[in-house]
């Protein structure tokens, strides 16, 4: 670090320290008792009056902003014409709750000019000093346009009827300087806002009316328009209607955006009647805000728009029907889903179908679905799921038996969501009837989902176990997979029983179910198969599942249980693949036991590299707390592992002779 940088850093540290002290000092600079305050104020006044540097006087002004009384006003007033200190004096005077402060600012008007005067006028404006209206009105004629503009802005903030009148004259007198027109307009709008807040609605409205003429910039006209909606609320609907129907796109946009706030009865219907008269783009906007109101009275107009030749209008209307439609709109939406002229339109229609409220919608969707082309039925089934249409279960069961695979699969998936435990017998029957693997998987998933809805966890597998007793072949295999998904104690018992089934496929399905078991309850059974299984496939499936469950425990931070299982797995694993699985799963278990187990594999040439890698990974985390154990382990890695990179890294953890 060079000297300059070091010095700069010291400066920064000192400054930061100064900061904290300054903060404390500032808080302390507002003493609680009156006497101390008076003394402090007197001292600050002396600072202002004396020859202190600018920074000191700035600081005094900041403090007087908080504690200053009328006593300090003369000292501050004396600075108002000072080009360097005027602003800081205003900082103190502007927020003071004393008439003396306002008077000091007013008195400074004739003594100042240019930007200094602009600042003083700004402070009077901030204070909304009504007594300054006369002087400020005179300043509107100042040859310095910056001063005239500041005076206009201040009058706008003061916003009394008198100030507003002065601004009317100023504005309509069309000040010559180009910069003054926007200031005049803004000041008038500000005054109008103030008058509105004070309850002078008509005066405010008159200003807004004047500012709506085309000679004013668009944002002034828009501001005036929205102001009028507040000032004359009873005329709002008519005004908005007129603006929507008019040819000014600016006003039309603002008018449409104002509609959601209009709550009077019949308003939505009135605006909806305008829809057909509008250009397409405006229709899109209006449809959007009408939809937000979710008012049924606009439905006929939206339905009409849904038949528009314009694709954007049509799509907007189809979307809006999701909010304002009812069962009577189902057919329109369903037809749009089937025959929409673009993917966007079809998708919007599908979403609207899902959102549509009211009685009879589900039934209407089902009715349409039954006669719809097979290819579009999955979309309707999806809508029924999104609508949580539990009443459609019977029809979905029928669809699940249909000819088309896509429809069958959609129906089965839907049944998993919509059907309840009472429908389980029908679903089990359906599962037994499945002929191909794809739909069988869907049926299995549905049965599993429904079984899990049974409120008593202990009883969730009962119906499936009952069916298992009567099933054979692929259906029995399916039920075993379902039991694996349910995963309670009774299910485990049933699956373990199936390990002794005469049918090889059933036995294998049982092993698969155990290997996929959701928790470690299946571990003992898996270990037994891994050790004593009659086929190699069963043993591989079982040991893989067992290692997975051990890894699951490790992730749950049940380290001791996990390590016990990994130890058992290590003794049962026969192939390098399973040993690698063990080593991979152990990388996150940062214990000496895991390290030792990993090292025990390094003498096995088939997995020595993986064992060395895992041992090294664990060593990185254990070396600090267990240097001796890690050193010993790494010595074994070095002596057996052939991977140079691993060996080189392992050597770093081996303690040198004599080292402590």
């Amino acid at each position: 670090m060079n000297c300059r940088i070091r010095n700069m850093r010291i400066i920064v540290v000192v400054c930061i320290a100064g900061v904290l002290l300054a903060g404390v000092a500032f808080a302390a600079a507002a003493p609680a008792d009156a006497k101390a305050r008076r003394e402090r104020e007197a001292k600050l006044i002396q600072t202002l009056k004396g020859s202190a540097p600018r920074a000191e006087k700035d600081k005094a002004c900041r403090e007087l902003q908080i504690i200053g009384t009328p006593a300090c006003v003369p000292a501050l007033a004396a600075l108002l014409a000072d080009k360097d200190l005027s602003h800081m004096a205003r900082c103190a005077l502007e927020p003071m709750p004393y008439g003396q402060a306002a008077k000091a600012l007013r008195d400074a008007l004739p003594k100042t000019s240019g930007l200094i005067k602009v600042g003083v006028i700004g402070s009077l404006g901030y204070r909304r000093d009504k007594e300054a209206v006369g002087e400020l009105t005179k300043s509107l004629k100042d040859r310095d346009t910056a001063v005239a503009g500041a005076a206009a802005a201040a009058l706008g903030r003061i916003g009394t009827p008198e100030a507003a009148k002065a601004l009317d004259k100023f504005r309509e007198g069309a000040p010559g300087a180009p910069g003054l027109r926007p200031v005049a307009a803004e000041a008038s709008l500000t005054a109008a806002q103030r008058l509105l807040a004070e309850g002078s609605r008509e005066q405010a409205a008159a200003i807004y009316e004047a500012l709506q003429t085309p000679k004013w910039p668009k944002h002034v006209r828009l501001g005036a328009f929205t102001g009028l909606l507040v000032a004359r609320p009873t005329e709002g609907v008519g005004r908005v209607t007129k603006a929507i129907a008019g040819d000014d796109p600016a006003l039309r946009g603002a008018a449409i955006a104002a509609i959601p706030a209009m709550k009077a009865p019949g308003v939505a219907q009135r605006f909806a009647a305008e829809l057909p008269k509008l250009p397409a783009d405006a229709q899109v906007l209006l449809i959007g805000v009408l939809a937000e109101r979710a008012d049924a009275s606009v439905r006929p107009a939206i339905v009409t728009a849904a038949g528009s030749a314009n694709p954007r209008v049509r799509t907007a209307a189809v979307k809006a029907l999701g909010s304002v439609g009812d069962a009577g709109c189902v057919e329109i939406l369903c037809k749009a889903v089937v025959a929409g002229k673009s993917d966007d339109e079809k998708q919007v229609a599908a979403v609207s179908l899902q959102r549509l409220g009211g009685e009879g919608v589900d039934a209407a969707v089902v009715k349409f679905m039954k006669t719809a082309p097979v290819g579009s039925r999955p979309e309707f089934i999806k809508a029924l799921v999104a609508r949580k249409a539990a009443g459609a279960v019977g029809d979905l069961l029928a669809e699940a038996k249909g000819q088309d695979e896509g429809v069958r699969r959609s129906a089965l998936r839907a049944l998993g969501v919509l059907a309840g435990p009472k429908d389980l017998p029908a679903l089990l029957k359906l599962l037994a009837e499945q002929k191909d693997d794809t739909t069988r998987k869907d049926a299995e998933r549905a049965v599993m989902q429904i079984s899990r809805k049974i409120s008593d966890p202990a009883g969730q597998a009962d119906a499936v176990i009952a069916a298992l007793g009567k099933a054979a072949g692929p259906a029995k295999c399916s039920l075993l997979r379902v039991l694996g998904g349910i995963g309670n104690a009774k299910a485990l018992e049933a699956v373990r029983g199936a390990l002794k089934d005469k049918d090889t496929q059933v036995r294998e399905a049982a092993v698969v179910a155990l290997a996929d078991w959701p928790d470690a309850a299946a571990a003992p059974a898996l270990l037994k198969v891994a050790r004593e299984g009659k086929t190699k496939v069963h043993k591989i499936l079982a040991i893989s599942g067992y290692i997975r469950l051990a890894g699951q425990l490790a992730k749950q931070r049940k380290t001791a249980e996990a390590m016990k299982m990994f130890g058992s797995a290590a003794s049962a694993a026969e192939r390098p693949e399973e040993k690698k699985l063990i080593l991979g799963a152990m990388r996150g278990i940062r214990t000496i036991e895991a390290l030792d187990l990993a090292v025990s594999f390094v003498t096995d040439a088939a997995v020595a590299r993986e064992a060395g890698s895992t041992a090294l990974e664990l060593a990185k985390h254990l070396a600090r707390g267990h240097p001796n154990e890690v050193s010993a382990a790494m010595q074994k890695v070095v002596s057996s592992c052939k991977d140079k990179r691993i060996v080189d890294q392992a050597r770093r953890y081996i303690k040198k002779p004599g080292a402590k």
């Binding site: 507002a30 504690i67 709008l189 668009k218 959007g288």
Partner: protein, 428 residues
């Protein structure tokens, strides 16, 4: 503040937005650009929103980039008081469009005077956020403005009034209102799933609250083309140039230019708490500090506590909402934790705090003239809660606030800190 769902954003539309994660607003094709709206003698500008960027340091460049990724945006001008940032921003825009058309300005008023610009991104230092927003509105522009909205209460009040005055679209850069995990957490609070709310927690940026007013020794002032010092100071008090002033860790804790730790993150986290409490149009009424570090406990009129502190989990800008029947905590890591766990309904969220959705919402609002979720009024009330907390810390005592009148209760001393006199020629 009323019940759980009386706000502008009803539950249905809220969830639709949460589900879409992108504002969910209809991206209507109707673009009301300046050319289409204002300049009657010109043809409509088509689908594009013509934009400029003001204040383009790291954050500004990021947000500008997020805007430029939208096909309906054409960035045409950049402005920064620092030459390096100005040139870098111009180069970024030119590179994006494969030309040299982007114009660079030192003074934002020159950029704002351009009739062809519809909207601006404002990402100056905090000190200039309010004045830049107000000047943009005066020039008839819509704007996305970075947070915090202001350095003083009176400023953000003025911003909100100015936006109404000119019927502008203003979006505060509180982009977490358009990010899934925060929207989900807020929905849990607003929908009553946490039961009656008891407390909302907002993380502040640093461990210590408060600001400093340090004066550094003068250094030779660079030429205006290199660093427009007067422009950087904006409406704040003049002081001699020193380059240290505009290093981030310095100005962001200096009382002339920022609100320090509380406004830095509070503009997001307090804002989310306000939203969760359905308090977008109000704020807490009683404030007190709870320790030497300047943590603040504020209480709403209905008894809900707003706690501004450190120590929450899940990355930057975390929040926690506690009700009588549950709680939720989340942050920028995207992690979210609830009690009971079932409230989460296995929802997962990506981490980070991208501006993408927020920016898109703004653009849609410019087109539809709808107000965004981070309105000037909502942002004003959120940042006001932060400013009042800061005043409480600065005065070293409890304060009472009247959110309707926007004044302290029987506390003329605190009232004086609601505003800062603007240095001429700037005005609110």
């Amino acid at each position: 503040m009323s019940g759980t769902n009386s706000g502008r954003l009803n539950r249905r539309s809220f969830l639709q937005r949460a589900a879409s994660g992108a504002g969910g607003l209809l991206a209507a094709p109707y673009v009301i650009t300046s050319a289409a709206l204002g300049a009657e003698d010109r043809a409509p500008a088509g689908e594009r929103i013509v934009m400029g960027g003001i204040g383009l340091g790291g954050r500004g460049r990021y947000v500008m980039g997020a805007f430029m990724r939208n096909k309906d945006v054409q960035m045409v001008a950049v402005c920064d008081v620092q030459s390096g940032r100005r040139k870098g921003a111009k180069a970024t825009v030119d590179r994006r469009y494969g030309n040299k058309d982007c114009k660079a300005y030192i003074d934002m008023r020159e950029l704002l005077a351009r009739d062809d610009i519809d909207a601006v991104v404002i990402a100056t230092g905090d000190n200039n956020h309010s004045i830049a927003s107000i000047e943009a509105a005066r020039a008839g522009k819509d704007m996305y403005c970075e947070k915090p909205m202001s350095v003083a209460i009176a400023e953000s009040r003025a911003v909100a009034e100015t936006m109404r005055r000119f019927s502008r679209i203003y979006q505060c850069g509180t982009q977490r209102r358009n990010i899934g995990n925060f929207m989900f957490a807020v929905d849990l609070a607003r929908s009553g799933k946490l039961g009656k709310l008891r407390a909302v927690h907002a993380e502040k940026a640093g461990s210590r609250s408060g600001v400093h007013f340090t004066v550094l020794p003068a250094q030779p002032e660079p030429p205006r083309e290199v660093m427009d010092w007067n422009g950087w100071l904006g409406p704040s008090a003049w002081r001699p140039y020193n380059s240290k002033y505009y290093t981030r860790g310095f100005w962001s804790n200096h009382g002339d230019w920022s609100g320090g730790s509380i406004t830095e993150w509070g503009s997001h986290t307090v804002d989310l708490c306000q939203w969760a409490c359905d308090a977008d149009n109000t704020g807490p009424v009683d404030y007190r500090t709870t320790n030497q570090r300047g943590d603040v406990e504020a209480v709403y009129a209905n008894g809900v506590k707003l706690i501004i502190r450190k120590g929450l989990r899940f990355g930057s800008c975390p929040v926690r909402f506690e009700g009588e029947e549950g709680w939720v905590e989340t942050g920028d890591s995207g992690r979210i934790e609830t009690h009971p766990k079932s409230l989460l309904a296995e929802r997962k969220f990506r981490g980070g705090y991208p501006a993408t959705n927020h920016v898109r919402e703004f653009l849609d609002c410019v087109k539809t003239r709808k107000q965004p979720v981070s309105t000037a009024d909502a942002a004003h009330h959120s940042i006001t809660a932060c400013h009042v907390a800061n005043i409480c810390v600065r005065l070293g005592r409890a304060v009472k606030w009247d959110p309707a009148k926007e004044e302290f209760v029987g506390d003329a001393e605190a009232d004086r800190l609601r505003s800062r006199a603007y240095r001429q020629p700037w005005r609110l």
